[in-house]
Symmetry: C2
Subunit: 596 residues, 2 copies
């Protein structure tokens, strides 16, 4: 029926008759002529309804916002001075010959171009909200990202294999969504938190290269960037090294940016976890921010300032400075606000030094703390930070984790501020990187045991196998994360393919043989039958697209998302169900009067 | 690491050094030389290990079935007379230079080439079962079908948009899988039976062309070709007519057969539902079977044989013959077996006539029933069936549904038999067709009400809207099924896009306003806002691939299927869960001692 999408009509069609389908985005009457902006998923085009075609004009008079219309007409140039450079169709308009109302509309509950809609309104009327050009663009880009990923993976010989949605509950990791079984009284399926075990089994089965773009589920309390169901680009391959895997999937992300955004991603540094923590206090540093930590732990042991000397002389303590060029102009109020900010991350305070004149040494500094720090230490601070006149230095001194979290967050907070942008401390670009060489284990202080940083199937670096027994904290994993602009886009690892290495990991994690069999028995069985060397990774599609569209929320790149209370305002899910349904599933409600 | 897949090494690589990864499919010693058939997902290649490389040979001596190996070697021609025409690599072998055991294997519980494995064995050891070349081929083909569908749809401007997995229970249709909500005490999500409502909402949102290859869920007792979770290629488009939709998706299936099987599907007839029932007693006739019904209802009213005259004179009754050319040679035992067979479908018996000499009229017939049928009726039977010497005629006479089911099934039973193949009554080809013009409603005798044949959002044919009120049984729908070799591959319809037409359908179906709002309120709301004309369809991917691979069961084209009792024998799902998990979900088990 249609000859072109509205948004695609351009001067290339000048003088041609077109048939368009779309919605009345705006209607206005001007000088006895009716103008309708007709909208479809590709964009807008201006329709001109002249009164000289009486029947058509009468129809046009009845058109209101969001009516669904069919328009036949002639593409002609807009009068000089009325072009709209913001539209593909901005140089033309369509002189309407025939107008058919395919379906009228009642008055929508809000204007589509209202920028100040509450999320509740938007999610309740999601069908109309999705008509907004930005939402159309977001979901079209999401599709392009997924499809270009598929094309790249297809090219590389990867095969999409579907793994089950109704699977087994493993009380490891996050909370499972459960599905009661009707056939097996008292038993439950779980929705998958990820296809991790299945993709490894597929490698053992010899499929060689697997991928899937699939829903995963976690029943956790939701933060801004989380959803109960989320989408992963899940990948696994056999017979490739860590470097080969990284190179292949760096290639995929480069391909996706090129095809979907027409962006060439540039430099893609590879940084060890230890370096990232050392320089940025974060395993997903935002490299757009041109601020770095300066290590001071080793030169603060003997200062007469307990706040610094304490952590400097305690195992696991850390002292760092964050130098902010030009920051001496910050007001006391700004500094106080940053002090409050770092407390969220457990810091007890925020020491600072304004560097007014570096040449004057101690006398050129303005600070509540310098009086307690001896000259040699001050000289060392100035030397290591490379401080210049007009800078401010912030300090973190505490357990390393607190310092990293607090000063790492401060680095981002300052780095994303208008101040940083004005001072050239923030580079507006795509800043990807690989973080590699993660530790295998971290010590869980609370339970006094070692826990897997990645997951228990991650392989140790060659030569690190014995550390699992002798010194777990020293053991480095073949694990890698891809980071973009400070967000973790994805991560993965080379897996353990030999049963005896897997057994050592379980031993280090103190998982009993009984638990191993119960939770992972089928994986351990499979590893016995000539499992190939394999590894993989998973990308968070929602997050990737949120970054690429610069959306404010993950919910702006999902067609029908849940609220923070895991509800769908459009359909009213979850909802009450019939007693008969519960009886068939062999369950009953715990509370006669539910306490929601 | 690898230079080629095992199965792809051919004479094109003669004289070249290759590196291969794979599994020891078979190992045999012959004349002091060790031969290993190395297998990967692409197929097999023969590795020759000569004793003159002592270290390599020693490794080869240790190789057992299913060891994972890396082989470097020289591609050379096989000695004359030892070629294997069944393999891509059948003209060559690889002289092994280096052999590395990447991972040994314990002895597998069965031989991979054992054709007589029980399904329980196969599903319990699915990881090894999936290594079998046939299973590798099946899942690779499945991927190719899905990917080629995506490429076609992408080309046509369709956009993959994900719809929720955690959605609202609608107690219409099949039984839902339920997911208890932790946040909303006493409430439940349902897993989707299909994305039907969401895809219509996406059309109302203006996405114009939607598709998704997605899991759907039905908690029903399983038959051979059903799974609790199954995969649909789900499609919806706006602004296309029924014919345009059919043509576009006929194009998709043609494309998929061309790309995945190198098959050109030929003629694609379009047959009205009424004609299909009339000629074949089925709305998914297998056109490979060259047998058709002969209508006799109108000429059996006055015969002195109640079995025929009863149905012929009762409203809703039907009398047909099925002529089987050459069938007069069937033994009494065969005819008895067919008589038992039709009883499954509700037939009370199976009347038959062997046509020995058609020229002799009654005297040339052999049958227990002809004595009760007058000459004119016999002449009419012979004339209408076009019976020839040596044929057999089977008869069905009962309520139309019983006749259609029983004689329709008999047509397939005979048509797929060795007899039919020998007599040329079965054409071994791909026989696609569209069945169209389904009735909108069928009368549900039990509850004395009209039920939707397709679903309640299906649009009536233009001009049939009023029949919904005056004569629902006469109302034809814009619904269509695609059939291949007697299997329903998919189906769909043009949907109702105007709220007032939707209201009429609900009235005909006697669904109360309260129920409408409760179940479909959000769809009815959406239709008010300028919903576009739209329609679509869904293909069953599992079924399509089962047909294309000629697999015996849908379970042979699914990586990790469930058994008929909806269990996963590999992982042991469903399983018991912790009391703590149930408490968090506000549910408890109904039976202290579950009665599974």
């Amino acid at each position: 029926m249609r000859t072109s999408y509205c948004g695609d009509v351009s001067e290339a069609l000048l003088g041609q008759e077109v048939t368009l389908m779309g919605w009345a985005h705006r209607r206005r009457d001007h000088g006895g002529v009716i103008f309708i902006d007709l909208r479809d998923r590709q964009g807008l085009v201006q329709i001109v309804c002249d009164p000289d075609r009486a029947e058509m004009f009468k129809t046009a008079e009845g058109v209101r916002g969001e009516f669904c219309l069919q328009v036949k007409g002639l593409v002609r140039a807009r009068p000089a001075g009325t072009e709209n450079a913001g539209l593909t169709s901005g140089k033309i308009e369509v002189l309407c010959h025939e107008l058919v109302v395919l379906n009228p509309s009642v008055t929508p509950p809000f204007q589509l171009d209202d920028e100040n809609l509450s999320e509740t309104t938007r999610l309740t009327h999601r069908v109309l909200d999705l008509r907004r050009p930005q939402m159309q663009k977001n979901l079209m880009l999401r599709y392009r990202v997924a499809m270009e990923s598929r094309k790249y993976l297809d090219e590389m010989g990867f095969v999409d294999i579907e793994t089950p949605m109704l699977t087994k509950s493993t009380p490891e990791g996050a909370r499972d969504y459960l599905v009661p079984s009707r056939v097996q009284d008292g038993q439950f399926f779980a929705l998958p938190q990820s296809p991790q075990l299945f993709k490894q089994l597929l490698m053992v089965s010899g499929f060689d290269r697997y991928y899937q773009i699939t829903k995963c589920f976690r029943d956790e309390d939701l933060r801004a960037d989380r959803q109960p169901e989320f989408t992963q680009i899940d990948i696994e391959t056999s017979f490739l090294t860590e470097e080969e895997i990284r190179s292949m999937f760096e290639g995929m992300i480069r391909h996706v940016f090129r095809k979907a955004l027409n962006v060439e991603l540039g430099d893609y540094p590879v940084m060890a976890y230890a370096e990232a923590m050392h320089r940025f206090g974060s395993d997903k540093p935002d490299l757009r921010v041109k601020l770095e930590f300066t290590e001071l732990t080793d030169c603060m042991a003997d200062v007469d300032f307990k706040v610094f000397s304490g952590p400097a002389t305690t195992p696991g303590g850390r002292v760092v400075a964050l130098r902010v060029p030009g920051g001496a102009e910050m007001s006391r109020g700004e500094i106080d606000a940053y002090t409050e900010f770092v407390k969220i991350y457990g810091a007890k305070g925020l020491a600072w030094v304004k560097v007014n004149e570096v040449a004057k040494g101690r006398d050129g500094l303005q600070s509540p703390i310098v009086k307690n720090i001896h000259d040699a230490a001050i000289a060392e601070i100035l030397k290591r930070t490379g401080a210049q006149d007009g800078d401010i230095l912030f300090f973190g001194a505490d357990k390393a984790k607190v310092v990293n979290d607090a000063i790492g967050a401060l680095r981002i907070k300052i780095g994303h501020s208008e101040f940083a942008k004005a001072k050239g401390l923030f580079e507006d670009r795509w800043a990807p990187l690989w973080v590699v060489d993660f530790p295998m284990f971290e010590h869980d202080e609370e339970n006094n045991r070692w826990a897997a940083v990645h997951h228990p199937f991650t392989a140790p670096k060659d030569g690190h196998e014995d550390f699992m027994v002798t010194d777990p904290g020293r053991c480095i994993a073949k694990a890698y994360d891809m980071v973009l602009n400070g967000w973790e886009l994805g991560g993965g690892s080379v897996r353990i393919h030999r049963a005896e290495v897997q057994a050592k990991v379980f031993a280090a994690l103190n998982i009993s043989e009984e638990d191993q069999r119960l939770k992972f028995g089928f994986l351990l069985d499979a590893l016995q039958y000539g499992a190939p060397p394999h590894g993989g990774l998973a990308f968070g599609l929602d997050r990737l697209v949120t970054l690429m569209t610069k959306a404010e929320s993950i919910r702006d790149v999902i067609a029908f998302p849940k609220t923070q209370r895991a509800q769908c305002l459009l359909t009213g899910a979850p909802s009450n169900v019939d007693e008969k349904q519960l009886r068939e599933l062999h369950i009953r409600l715990r509370n006669a009067t539910p306490a929601a």
